[in-house]
Symmetry: D2
Subunit: 348 residues, 4 copies
């Protein structure tokens, strides 16, 4: 890899995480995009799938088996889970990889098999992969060849909870995560449940006690607690394209106060470029991070004594996917971490 720029490929460029990667990478001063794959649209220009990305001189879409890997230093992989593991296993080993699928997020082979319904097909890689919650794994990410980019819900939840579990300020066995997500989290596949008419002007709960992001959150909290943790994770689908707001209900222990909880988070993230803990009284909204890589958090007293409420918001396509992927790329390549990620939220 040349010291100045990195040549990047995107596998699965026609999905939303692919499009969002391009929005970010086209303005990244140290990146040149040299490969875009999209099997069903191979041979077409990018503006046939993303009109807003026309006019920037991007390469044609190609099929993955026609890719010229000699032109690529690092790939972002935005393919469906399940298929990703074999594709990544077959890539030339000179490539660094940031995988945005779920395939390498769970480190435990059995947990993976339980939640995904089959044995992992690239167990060696699974062991090698680094879970890329950037703020908590920089050194390992810096040395990694394969980074498993975290899920959107797990990013919003873990950023808030890991410091509190590590500090043993909350009862790790009584964590309730009520999360509200925009629709882009379901991807660009044409599904009845993602139709405008099915989503607008309403809200519904889904995947109760069975969403695959639960074990991912539990993996992070288990590591933080040093013992197995299970959580309530209840996702809701609501009419917005981007954004996740997690309302997290915790019971404080060991005499911790709401101010203590806020302090611990504020201290933990004081030097972080992308995490901000709001001052007492303020509460974040997803619209204030739309299009940006920020995570905003707040901490509130509960009417139930001894309890606190932690609110955490991100843009699921940026900090919850493509933005964090670029952040991880920056760490892997030794670039300044905020490079190419300084967009201010688009509001209104």
């Amino acid at each position: 890899m040349d010291a100045q720029t990195v040549r990047v490929g995107i596998l699965g460029a026609s999905g939303y995480t692919g499009g969002e990667l391009l929005r970010l990478l086209l303005r990244h001063p140290r990146v040149r995009v040299t490969l875009l794959t999209a099997d069903r649209n191979a041979g077409k220009p990018i503006d046939s799938v993303f009109p807003h990305l026309g006019g920037y001189g991007l390469p044609l879409l190609t099929s993955i088996d026609k890719a010229d890997w000699s032109e690529v230093d690092l790939v972002f992989c935005g393919l469906p889970h399940g298929t990703t593991q074999e594709i990544i296993a077959a890539l030339p080993t000179h490539l660094k990889v940031v995988d945005l699928s779920a395939d390498f997020r769970l480190a435990d082979l059995e947990t993976y098999a339980t939640w995904y319904g089959h044995a992992h097909r690239a167990p060696a890689l699974q062991r090698e992969a680094i879970y890329g919650l950037t703020e908590f794994a920089r050194p390992a990410i810096g040395n990694a060849r394969l980074v498993a980019n975290p899920g959107c819900y797990p990013t919003s939840a873990q950023l808030a909870l890991i410091p509190l579990v590590e500090a043993a300020m909350i009862d790790a066995d009584d964590i309730i995560i009520d999360a509200k997500s925009g629709v882009s989290g379901a991807g660009r596949a044409a599904k009845e449940g993602s139709l405008y008419t099915e989503v607008t002007e309403g809200i519904n709960v889904y995947g109760i006690a069975s969403h695959r992001h639960a074990p991912e959150i539990e993996q992070g909290l288990t590591a933080a607690a040093g013992r197995p943790i299970v959580v309530n994770f209840t996702p809701h689908l609501m009419p917005m394209s981007r954004g996740i707001l997690s309302s997290i209900y915790v019971r404080m222990v060991g005499g911790a106060t709401v101010d203590d909880v806020r302090q611990v988070l504020a201290k933990r993230f004081a030097d972080e470029p992308f995490v901000r803990v709001l001052s007492n009284g303020a509460a974040p909204a997803t619209r204030h991070v739309r299009g940006s890589n920020l995570c905003l958090m707040s901490v509130h007293a509960d009417r139930l004594s001894g309890r606190a409420i932690v609110v955490s918001v991100i843009d699921n396509l940026v900090k919850g996917a493509s933005g964090q992927a670029v952040q991880n790329m920056n760490v892997m390549c030794g670039f300044p971490e905020p490079l190419g990620l300084e967009q201010i939220a688009l509001f209104p």
Copy 2:
């Protein structure tokens, strides 16, 4: 009151609850609307404030002090809280009243003063008023002159929680109500926070531990438990005009199972025309009650052992306001309870 029809007045006809009352009452076979007040728009036709209500022969808007009460048997009062209590106190006593404001919902004078910042100005009426959660107060409503129509959030939460607290199946000191509401709950007043541009494509939490619907919910649960109950009530504002979805997190006690919880609710509401408990596996969405007076509920196992999740949805303008008000009117007038309330949800 003539045995066949009731002559109805609406105070505050230009607000959303007023408009929704008209949508329902214009198709109610036993109602004639004889009075509409709207002080700022007095003298104008209703279609100047609600174009969709033109053409139905409604009376002109008038100011409240010009109302001819001899033409009215029952009034719905959709005025701002705080001002309502004195207006109702001054009404002729032949009028039955369904008040949609918050003024008469809290029975305890001190609790009222604490949450609303001033002593109640009609304490005798406050004592007389019946809290109109129809499914739990029919006999009293049938004899009432003044019914305090419940708030939207409290309706969705109490319908689900009162039977469980009464059955002592859940720990009444560990109830978390994460509620998501549409924008019409904020009324039709022109406020920056309710602008399209401020609300669309986002979600935010508000009124944490300080929303005035918390003591209203607690009042109902306190009565059910026979001892003072405090709850977590955390409302969120999201982009939909109508609808509330409450995700309620409870801890089961006394050996109760998730199936037991579902059974108790199913049994309690088996004969109710407007409450439906979904079967195991199904979960409700606000869009499935849009425009209807239904409350849909479901019960789910939690990953945290011993815990259950209860989901309850209503249309905040119908079962959460004007629909329940008409339901109460039906009870007060001895009409069949579902009369005029049989609209099927509008979807998509």
Copy 3:
């Protein structure tokens, strides 16, 4: 058919026009729904595809080849165009049919072949079918066995234009119809272009000079003018579930004024239950007809002298589809025309 009630079947009950038919028919005092077909979902209850329609005692979904036609007097056909013509041709002849597809709307065989790319497969039926723009074809509809229910755009455009062309008040060769539609017009099929994320917060033009509703509008205006008419018809897709607003730009001829144009429309529709011409100065909005069978119109002066602007709004799923279909059923069955169609718009 019994004098009191009609037994109705719906072919294609799992689509949006099917669901909307059910919303209306379940509250129609002279209808009993005895058959629902949905091939892919045969054997399931209706609430598996439309949760809001559960609890009303509807029959199970069945496949069309298992239908018991002896239980049915009249069918609504909400199947995809192209396949519909052969299905209807094979139905028992005792059935009256209201077809909501496009298959029988164009009376001219050649025009059909040109726009749909194949010869019609039931040409005899095509000749027999009555184009069901109710306000302009009552007697024929009353005697029809097969009614071709008009398209949504053509309903909104023709209601406004036919009287003006008939009165020879406008230049029929200079008509521009700029129409804006909600997403339900595209049906419930899972298509990328109908995803929430692709539609929300934007607008785009489509089908310019090539939309199949153009020849349908032209057919009506050609009949009104007595000579071949071609129009500009430019549809736009925008983020709303229901509604069409057509802004129609016309050049007045023969000395007609804007007031004359408004008068002609007002007179033409004075006795119509479902068409209202607004008075000078008012302009309609789609949200004021949401869920209702109304068409609202207004007429405005243009800054270009000699020109006028006619605005026409409907709910595409009601007056533009299922509502008009029920209206046609009422005419076919000799019921009062507004029966079951008196819903007031749902606003907000």
Copy 4:
């Protein structure tokens, strides 16, 4: 003004154009923001009105009469029209000014008085002001002290129409502009008509033949034609925060074809960084310019022979307001024109 950076003030920083200016200017490499005024919020930090703009080290909001003008080289003025003219007239003359209000857009004193209902209060400045449609006035803007930033609708319409009128390819007396706008065009003032509940899921026409952007468009076309031009301009309000799509219906003259029209536009804008003419068959959508300074255009054949349809889309807050204002600042300061304006559209 120092050769490297310009010190910028924003008058009216708490409105949407103010917030959008900050989003752009905070990432502009040659700008330092030194003054923010907001009379009602004087003394507060910017994040009290725009939470997403906290954390970037911006100055406190101040009242305009406390501004220290010695710290400012150039001001953007985002104040309500009518009040702006006197405020700008009173500014120190060393300041360059880009005015985003309507106060200096109409060059003719009488036209201004007719449409705004009063004589202009700064007629000398009105004469001096340069109308800042950047692509058509660069040299004058480069020398201007006061630039009147064009309105949002006029930007989208004039970019498409001026070249065609100049080329005498279209009948300038038969231009119909059907425009659809997002809600942010109405500003951040709390008005009933801008409430979420009043706007979502609907569309309405407004200001027919009476919108103040009509004379602004006519002014540009009059100059292009060399004789007085009047146009049809019909704006619509629809549920999106940002974006304008103008569907423009024109009659070709002098033997021009649709391809000729497309060619003339393509040639005219070939070297422009912010205007793109799509190739035959493609049509733009507002969502493909959201957050970007681009104007996308397309040209289509009409079914009416001799007619063409031109579609033009912009983000009303960027190219239609704050983005074009920064573009004009770049020209006024001798900076490369695209500086700070290279954001790629945010989609989805």
